[in-house]
Amino acid sequence: MTALDPARRRAVLRQAVSVGVATGAYGISFGALSTAAGLDVLQTQALSVLLFSGGSQFAFVGLVAGGMSGAPAAIATSTLLGVRNGLYGLQVARMLDVRGLRRVAAAHLTIDESTAVGVGQPEERAGRLGFWATGLAVFVLWNLMTLAGALVGDSIGDPKTYGLDAAAAAAFCGLLWPRLKSGDAFAIAALAALIAVLLAPHAPAGVPVLVAAFTALVAAVWPSAHRDPTPPHHWTDEDEATKADPDHRGTPRGEAR
């Protein structure tokens, strides 16, 4: 595997830091919301350090806000929203190939943002760098901003005023964009989006996205996936790639290492 050139390295790190900053800004509103819901500063911080998954954390504090009778529902919803992190892990684990304590750290940092930056990179080396850099940037900023929000409360205002909710969605689009140039990935993404939106009014939080994940099965039967040389995507089998791409223009980051 060739080393990452400095320009690509800088581009990946720039993505990681910008995603970290955008997510961190949300940490302020999480901290404020959590203390308003009745958690103390230490409990709020414990959620950001130990649970470390934004969607689950917001759902948790929202459901205990009405009193501890909401605790079982808070734990259940938070856990349901966390299932997708486990599904991300299936792919990220193969990309990172880590053992021991590094594996524990990688698992803890496996969230939407780190996964999106990691799997959005065309080369495996950039993917690893993107995953770790984003995971660490989000962890540090999310926790610092949680503390700030818990201490100062709501006075900073709603992040929506600054369009930060839309910035997060746009960032995910931008991260996935290079992958969507292949027909199968685009079809999967479009189908998943449609299913999730159609199910959203009829299913509990977290479920629509999980059901939409089944569209990934399309990749198993899509015949032309490995014939698309750009971008080099990593479900290309090396033999197939050689057949389809005799000039080796695309460098498949093959699983058949």
Binding site: N85, K160, V197, A220, A225
Partner: protein, 104 residues
């Protein structure tokens, strides 16, 4: 249940789920088809997540507001090969502007 019990239980379950993805035996995912499905999984999940974040409001109801306009601007910018930070900035700016004008 005390608040601390709830916080720690939710955290433990969250980590267990994250770790589960890392301990699935690699030979289960080795086949070419399986491997393609696992690499497509994050794409499906993230795309569904963006759709839910952009288009749904309280209770999962379909809501068209400044978020959709902002993501549309982002997609146009991406199609025009704008750099990542510009895409994100344009989306935030669009949503902030529309909201300051009282829409969405």
């Amino acid at each position: 249940m005390s608040m601390w019990t709830a916080v720690l239980a939710a955290s433990a379950l969250a980590f267990a789920l994250k770790f589960l993805g890392y301990v699935v035996p690699t030979q289960w995912l080795e086949g070419r088809r399986t491997s393609r499905v696992t690499s497509a999984l994050p794409i499906a999940l993230l795309s569904a997540l963006v759709a839910v974040q952009t288009l749904t409001g309280a209770g999962g109801a379909l809501v068209v507001d400044a978020r959709l306009a902002a993501v549309a601007v982002a997609l146009v910018a991406l199609a025009l090969r704008a750099p990542f930070l510009l895409v994100v900035g344009l989306a935030a700016g669009t949503a902030a502007l529309l909201r300051s004008l009282g829409w969405g």
